[in-house]
Structure formats: C-alpha cells, structure tokens
C-alpha cells in the first residue's frame, strides 16, 4: 500500500498564504494517485492525516526573511527541528509548532518534508504576489520530486 501523502496548508484570505490551497488544486488536477489534503495546519488534524504514513510532503508559505519571495525551500522536518516563533501566529498555533508538538508526541510520519514557498505578503487579500504566483510550477516540480525521492 502506498504510504505517501501531500498536505497543503494555508489561508486563501491572506495573500501569499493562499499558495498552499492553490497548489492543492493544481495537484488534484494531475490525478497523482496519492492523497492530496488541504489542512488548516492544526496539530490534531495533521496527526490524523499522517497517522501511519511513511513519506509526507507538507506545503505552506513560509517567511524566512532571508530569501526573495517565491524562493522554494525544502526542509527535512523529520530529521531537523523547525524554528518555532510562537508569537507570529494569529491562530494560536502555527504549522511549525504543530510539527514540533507532533515530534514531542513521537507522532511524526517516518519521513516528513516541508516544501515552503517564501511569501512576499501575508496581508488580508486573495491575490498572490507576482513572484509567488510565478513560483508555483517550480514548487509543484519540487513537491513531486520529494514525493518520488528514493
């Protein structure tokens, strides 16, 4: 049985944070044969989505502040802790906290990879910035490479 999944996280009302949901739609249209989930990024939901799975690729907008908007980052979250900045979240608990909470609970999938797209704007609004929109094909290619990586 295929034990892989892709989980896209984001808020379509917060500009570039909508890149996750857009990529989920793009992947759905490709009929990959593995589950593509859209998630709010909360720990309870993530734990349920990846319970018992091996390779999980999670997709979200990220802010490192060290790259140009649209840069595609890959983090091997099952082997390296994510930096948690708790005050940055407007929803109580963010994706990085969720992943670290799952790590504390020993409830991570065997191989969790985060494909993060550097955001340019997270202001209220439904449009992506041009740089992030232009990065979607690269991000999708990277997601597929991570899913298939032997």
């Amino acid at each position: 049985m295929d034990d892989r999944a892709i989980i896209c996280v984001g808020n379509s009302s917060r500009s570039d944070d909508g890149v996750g949901p857009l990529i989920a739609t793009e992947l759905d249209n490709r009929d990959l044969g593995i589950p593509v989930h859209l998630s709010n990024g909360e720990p309870g939901e993530l734990l349920d989505l990846w319970r018992g799975l091996g390779r999980v690729v999670i997709v979200d907008a990220v802010v490192t502040g060290r790259s140009e908007p649209g840069t595609v980052h890959v983090l091997h979250a099952s082997s390296e802790p994510l930096p948690v900045v708790s005050h940055a979240s407007s929803h109580g608990i963010g994706l990085a906290e969720s992943i670290e909470l799952a790590r504390s609970l020993r409830a991570l999938p065997t191989d969790l990879r985060l494909v993060g797209i550097e955001a340019g704007s997270l202001e209220p609004g439904t449009d992506l910035t041009p740089a992030v929109r232009a990065a979607i094909p690269d991000a999708v290619a990277q997601i597929l490479a991570e899913v298939d990586d032997a």
């Binding site: 808020n11 009302s13 709010n40 909360e42 720990p43 309870g44 939901e45 734990l47 349920d48 948690v84 708790s86 005050h87 407007s90 929803h91 109580g92 608990i93 906290e97 670290e100 909470l101 790590r103 504390s104 609970l105 020993r106 409830a107 209220p124």
Partner: protein
Amino acid sequence: MTKRTIDVNYLARVEGEGSLYVKLDGDTISELEFGIFEPPRYFEAFLRGRQFTEVPDITSRICGICPIGYQTSSINAMEDVCGVTVTPEIDALRRLIYCGEWIESHVLHLFLLHAPDFLGYESAIHLAKDFPDEVQMGLRMKKIGNTVVQVVGGREIHPINMKVGGFFRAPTRRELRALVPELEWGLDAALRTVNLVSGFTFPDLDRDYLFVSMRHDDEYPMARGRVVSSAGLDITAHEYEDHFSESHVERSNALHSLTSDGLAYHVGPMARFNLNVDLLTPQATAAATRANLVPPITNPFRSIIVRAIEIVLAFEEALRIIAEYDPPEPPALDVTPVAGTGFGVSEAPRGLLFHRYRIDGAGIIEEARIVPPTSQNQPTIEADLHDFITANLALSDEDLTWQCEQAIRNYDPCISCATHFLDLRLDRG
C-alpha cells in the same frame, strides 16, 4: 532603594501581539502598562457602506478563534433592528455551533497555552514530552469542537453557513447524529480535564471583581440573553452603552472599557460561572461540586477550572441539542431591512461581545461599533497585575515575569480581536 523592571517584548501564548512593562521603585509600582500593539484593524470602518446581510461574513474575519461569537452578535444586532425573532429550532442550531466554538477555543487555551504555566513548561511542545496522553486528549477534544463548527457552519475557520435570519442550509439529523460518538468521548474527556486542572497549584490572588455577563432565563448564556452584573445590573443590549464606555489609552491600540462610574469590570468564564451557576448542566454542576468550585470564584488563576467546567457544559449541551434536533424549516427567516439602530450581544469564549449597527432603509450600514471581550478586560488585567506584583515582590525577576504572563493568560486575551486593539518588561531600575 532597589529598582527593577519587568519587560516582556512579545507575550507568547496569547492571540495577537502585546506587551507588559512594569517599573518598580523599591516596593512601589511606578508604571504598569499592558500594551497592545498589533495594528488597529479598522473593521468598523470596513463595515460602513456594506449590506446588513454581509455583516456575519465580514465580522467573522476578525478572529480565527471565535468567528461564531462575531457572527452571532452581529446577527443578533441585525435581527434586533429589523424586528425579527427566530424560531426555537434556529436558536438551538446557533447554540450548537456556539458549543463547538467554546470547545475548540477553551481546549486550545487550556491545554496548549495555559496548562504549561501551571506545570512549569515553556510551551506545549515541552509539556507534550512529559504529558503526551493529556496533550493528545486535548488535541482530540479540540478537533471535535472544530468538527461541530464545520458540520453546522460549512467550514471550520470563518464558517459560512450562518446568516441574518438563520442558516443557509440546515444540517440533516444524520449529519448531526454522526457527531455523537466523538461528543460522548469528549464529554468524558472534559470531565477528566476538570480533575486534571483542579489538581494544579494556584498562586494566591483574590480580588473584589465587578463581574459582567449575559443571563438567560432558560440556559447558561451563549448566543442570547440580557446583560447582568454582580452589582445587580440587569439590562438589554440596547442599554449597554448607557452603562459601559470605551476610551482610548495612548500605549495601546485597543480601547479600554470601564463602567459609566469609571470602574474596571471582568467578563469571561469566571463572570459567566459566578452569575449563572444555577444554570449549569447536570454533569457540569456535579463536576464543579467535585472541584470545590463555589461561587463567587475570585482567584483569577482558578479560571482554568471554570474553563474546564464550561467545556463539560458545551459537550453536554451539544449532545442534548443533537438528541432533540428538529431541522429548522425553513432554515432561515426572510429579513427585510428597517432603518434604525440594532444592538446585539453574545458570550464569546473570552466573554461578552457587544455589537451595534445603524442601517438605512435599504439595509446599508451607516455606522458600526464592536466591543470585544479583551478590551473590556484590559483594565481588570492591569489591576490584577498591580495587586499580584505588589504581593509578590520577593519573587525573582524570572519567577515574577513568568507569573505575570500566567496572570495575563488567565483571561485568554485575544489581542487580534481587541485591536480595533502583548511584550513583558519588568523594570526594577
């Protein structure tokens, strides 16, 4: 004379961004500022010129944690001005979705934000290593709350199914019955949660609060009722602004609320509990008795037990409403706009949430006013901190800072909501 400061630039584990600055000259607090610096959100201005029917969808964006509170208070205000009284079936469905919001919001705060303070952990991530079963239990309970909101509201965050007059679509009996097994598990988990938090150690602090909450003849307050206080006030939402007023304070983007006599007051779970203990559900009553929770509760650190009791109540009520559920037909009443001013209140998880709108005869909003619970509690939070610090000057800076943050989290402050409204700095010189 020793001078010291408590200075927290970003308060963690609260919604939004705020700070606390305390300056001490010996044993005297010379400055104490609980500041909120998330930029003002101008929602009241966004609302002007919009249709009265749009208000639940716009105001639900104010907060990702308590959208149902915003939707309910705004809908209540619009139905008030238009002279509409909804059916008991619609009222029941509103109470059900509100139960979902109380569960998800209270559980998030209790397990992931507040419990680490009591158990001596920096965060839920650290807590989870030593208390994995409890944290897993909390995550599952929260998810049940999310699911209730999703099934009744159409989706979890910024739900879309509530409207002025009722609901776009009533869930079927089958859809609601599917929630029952998890709700039953959740009720049992909530009772275990009461036992867990009752065993915590509570710092000493007892204050003579003026409590303000809603009250309804038939039920513990959530989506409907009057506004009452521990001083004997009993008014409708129409009279709210005659008794409470907001003023701008320079250090904060939020407005501070006081009574018309200039007194700080306390809204939220402790106020609701103290003013409505006779209306608790059976298992919540029994759990409160076992936890030795006898009103009036005046130690704000014990609010975590009250929150646990309200989680029990929300699970019980959700189960009762589903058992008695009769889908509203039609799911919404027609509402024709009437020029005038409407007033609405409801009990968001953090406390009383007041809305007022003036609309014209075509239903266009001319003026909007929103008073969220956190701005009502802000003067009380500062007063708590003042008394707590004065009584605990012997603590090290590190311990005092920790317990000040814990004292702020007693109120589960939602700073995102209050910016229309935290960083902790303790300055001992």
